[in-house]
Structures are given as structure tokens and as C-alpha cells.
């Protein structure tokens, strides 16, 4: 037993060393310099999110009005520290299971006076580089740093969505016959070109999301990650062609949240450390 543990730890250490070496090598120079200065590029998003958190919306209320200064709660209620650890979960006020992106959108439109029908706002919200979704998600997630992921499946809607997520995970579909599971469970550890395939279910990688990915030089929430994965499926409505390409599931849809729930439940117990820094 002991020998085995030793061996595993040796292998793990070797692996970690290798990964670190590879990561160092792949890190562009300007990012290396930033890290040496103690500046994680993702922290800019967190700072931006903190500012937005305390900025009033159209009706004069800010996130902090209900959640308190720095998300510490008001009169012991609506404390956001640790909230991300339990997400995605069922919320009574919106009667659905929400991930962090969806929850933020619901808060902004329900309580802060932003309008869901306002196309300009929605465009800004969905946008990667917009001022709302990604910075706020990064900031709110960072409030749970150091805590263990603890996704429960108590509500029937959560259970149903979890099952849907598991089914979607293994569903072979599209012009490439892909599923999440074939690459990220069966073939995990192999490479697509030079990009390694992680196993988010076994290795609890969810602890590092939202993450700053220096390949694209920006912050990604898990919603962005899941939706972008579907581009590789080459899904189509009638027959495969570039014109008929269904690139991504719609944002904030149950498909995306179901997969997030499936992966994050598998990551239960892992300690949250966001923003992550990934390739």
C-alpha cells in the first residue's frame, strides 16, 4: 500500500513538474513578466468585477445594495462568500437552476433595473469583453476562494438537470460523432494537436474556473468553455455545411447549465482557486 502511495506521489510530482515546465514554456513572455511581478492577468477582471459590483444599475441599486459591501451580506443575509461553491443550484426567485452567468443576469434584470428586452444591454452582457458578465462572474467566484466545492442535488430540478448533463456528456452527435466524454473521459490525457485533454470529471478542474486562458488572452467562464466546445461537434439542422452549422447552444440554456452541474458535482470537495491560469 505504502509503496503504491509513494509511487503515485512520485508519478504525480513528476507530472506536476512536467506540466509546470510545459506551462512555463508555453507562457508568452509578457505573461511571464506579469507573473514574476505577482500580477495574474485574470486579476484585472476580478478588479473590474469588484468595481461593477458596487456600481448602481438603472434603478439606483447595485449588487452591493442587497449583498453588502464586498459581498459580505446585509444583516447576515445574502452573503456571497461561498455562494459560488454551491452553484449551479436551484433558485426559488427565478424558479430554475442557474449557473453563475445566469444568476448574474437574473439579478441584474430582476432587481437592478436592467431590461432583458434591451438588445443593447443583452449584447453587452453576452459579450466576452463586456463590462458585466465575465468580470462579475470572476469577482463573485473569487469570493469563494479557499472553500470547497459543495454542489448538492437536493431539488428535483437539480436532479433532473444533472441526469440531463450526464446524458449530454456521453451523447455522440453532430458531423464529427463527438461527445464530451469521448475526449474528456475516454481519451483524457491524450493531445489534440499540442493541446492536452483534461478530465474535468475525474480531476476536478472546475476548481480553477472561471479561468484566464492565455491562448486567447482573456477570461473564460465555464459557460463560455462549454458553449465553445460544441463548435467542434459540427452540429447541423438539415445536413452538414458551413451555412447550416449550429455552432453553440444558446447562452444561459439548460443544456449548458446541465453540463456545468454534471462537471461541478464531480468536482465536489476540490478547493476553489480562481481565477485559474490555463493555456
Amino acid at each position: 500500500m505504502r509503496k503504491r502511495v509513494l509511487l503515485t506521489s512520485a508519478v504525480l510530482a513528476g507530472g506536476a513538474f512536467l506540466t509546470a515546465a510545459v506551462a512555463q514554456e508555453q507562457l508568452p513572455t509578457h505573461l511571464k513578466e506579469l507573473l514574476e511581478l505577482g500580477m495574474h492577468p485574470g486579476h484585472a477582471y476580478v478588479d473590474e468585477g469588484r468595481e461593477m459590483f458596487h456600481t448602481p444599475g438603472p434603478n439606483g441599486k447595485s449588487c452591493a445594495t442587497c449583498h453588502g459591501q464586498d459581498g459580505a451580506g446585509v444583516n447576515g443575509r445574502l452573503n456571497l462568500q461561498g455562494a459560488y461553491a454551491k452553484m449551479p443550484r436551484y433558485y426559488k426567485d427565478i424558479d430554475r437552476v442557474a449557473d453563475i452567468d445566469t444568476r448574474i443576469l437574473a439579478c441584474m434584470t430582476k432587481y437592478m433595473g436592467y431590461d432583458k428586452k434591451d438588445k443593447k444591454f443583452m449584447k453587452q452582457f453576452k459579450k466576452w469583453s463586456g463590462p458585466y458578465r465575465v468580470p462579475l462572474a470572476s469577482y463573485v467566484a473569487s469570493l469563494s476562494n479557499g472553500m470547497k466545492i459543495d454542489v448538492k442535488l437536493d431539488d428535483p430540478q437539480e436532479k433532473e438537470l444533472y441526469k440531463m448533463g450526464e446524458k449530454l456528456w456521453y451523447m455522440r452527435v453532430g458531423a464529427r460523432d463527438f461527445s464530451c466524454g469521448i475526449c474528456h473521459t475516454v481519451l483524457a490525457g491524450k493531445r489534440i494537436r499540442l493541446q492536452g485533454l483534461p478530465d474535468p470529471v475525474k480531476n476536478k478542474v472546475y476548481a480553477h474556473w472561471p479561468a484566464y486562458r492565455f491562448g486567447s488572452d482573456r477570461m473564460w467562464t465555464m459557460e463560455d468553455r462549454v458553449r465553445s466546445c460544441f463548435k467542434a461537434y459540427l452540429l447541423y439542422t438539415k445536413q452538414w455545411s458551413k451555412k447550416d452549422w449550429v455552432k453553440k447552444p444558446p447562452p444561459f440554456s439548460d443544456w449548458v447549465i446541465a453540463l456545468e452541474l454534471y462537471m461541478k458535482h464531480a468536482a465536489n470537495g476540490a478547493i476553489i482557486e480562481v481565477p485559474g491560469l490555463l493555456r
Binding site: 456521453y170 452527435v173 481519451l187 452538414w240
Partner: protein
């Protein structure tokens, strides 16, 4: 479940409309045009895309991602082989240069999104950014493999290896038969960088 049924009903409706006799079609061309013009929402589109899963994909959709018990592998292979269409000019094409472009890349970085072979396979030794999901294809042409087998594997890999991660490129129409034939020609050509 409800969603799948709904999507199924939607596809069914589409089929019904498509199968109506021509006379009926002529009667209401305006209404039909309107229906066609009405854009599907992204939610509807995604639902349909998932419902397009074929029965073989469905069979492979399990935690092992392999042919499950109760399904005969030989029948599976035979059914897949029956879908393979061969080009008129034979399985070895003439345009080797096009084959190389589809296999790898015009500028030799290997990043063609059509064949996308380097995502999973190594080949040309000069292209280092290659995946290790599939076996290396270096020296492929020297292995004495029948070009017809190569053609079938690219057109519909499940005819030889059911539920494999290799996309059925010809079956789904990602590549045309003639294009696959050119890739086969590139792979078997003694002067190809794969075989040097």
C-alpha cells in the same frame, strides 16, 4: 425527454411538409415561403441538431463510448459499409496536391479544418503540432495497406472500427468522395512527406 419528443415532432412535421404532393405545394406557396422565412431561434436550432443523432451514434452514447452489449458488431460494420459511396475515378485520386491541403495545410502548418488529420495523427515529420489520439501515419504508404481500406476508413471509420473517435468524414459529407480519394492518393504516394 419532453424536449427530444418535441424536437422529433418538429423534424416529423418538416418531413410531412416535404412529402406533400406537388399540387398541394403549388396551392399555398406563399404560406410555405413564410414558414421557411421564419427564422428558427437558436434554441430550436440546437434542439433539432441534437435530435439529428442517428441510431449508430445513439448506440455509442454510453460511458464506455463503445458498441454496447446486445448490438452485433459485425452487423454494425456491415450497415456502415453499406453507406460508403465510391468516386467514379476510383479510390485513388489524381490531385495529390489537393489531398495534401485537405490532409494538412496549405502553408504546411497542418491546420486544415477540412480533413483536420493532424489534430489526432502525426504524419509529415516537419509538422510537429500533431495529436496523439490516433496512430502516427508516418510511413503509412509503405505498410502494404489496400488504398480501398484507407478510403473506407476515412469515409466511414465505423465500418472498420465502430464507435471510434475518428469522425465519419464522408458519411456526414464533411468531405466529398473525390476529396477523400485525393487524400488517399497523398497518403499512398511514395513521394509524399508521409512516406519519405
Amino acid at each position: 425527454m419532453k424536449k427530444i419528443v418535441l424536437a422529433g415532432a418538429f423534424v416529423g412535421l418538416g418531413l410531412l411538409v416535404a412529402c406533400q404532393p406537388a399540387a398541394q405545394k403549388a396551392e399555398a406557396p406563399k404560406a410555405e415561403k413564410k414558414a421557411e422565412k421564419k427564422k428558427l431561434s437558436s434554441k430550436e436550432k440546437f434542439k433539432i441538431a441534437l435530435a439529428n443523432q442517428d441510431k449508430w451514434q445513439k448506440a455509442c452514447s454510453n460511458p464506455t463510448q463503445l458498441v454496447p452489449e446486445g448490438i452485433d458488431i459485425e452487423t454494425f460494420k456491415k450497415e456502415m459499409l453499406a453507406t460508403v459511396k465510391f468516386p467514379e475515378g476510383g479510390v485513388v485520386g489524381k490531385n495529390i496536391a489537393r489531398g495534401e491541403k485537405l490532409f494538412g495545410d496549405p502553408k504546411k502548418g497542418g491546420k486544415s479544418r477540412r480533413g483536420n488529420c493532424y489534430a489526432c495523427h502525426c504524419g509529415d515529420p516537419k509538422i510537429i503540432a500533431c495529436g496523439n489520439i490516433g496512430p502516427s501515419l508516418r510511413g503509412y504508404g509503405k505498410r502494404g495497406i489496400d488504398p480501398k481500406e484507407t478510403y473506407i476508413r476515412i469515409y466511414n471509420s465505423w465500418a472498420q472500427n465502430p464507435c471510434s473517435v475518428m469522425p465519419r468524414l464522408g458519411y456526414h459529407g464533411v468531405l466529398k468522395p473525390e476529396e477523400i480519394a485525393d487524400i488517399v492518393a497523398y497518403m499512398h504516394d511514395p513521394n509524399s512527406p508521409l512516406n519519405k
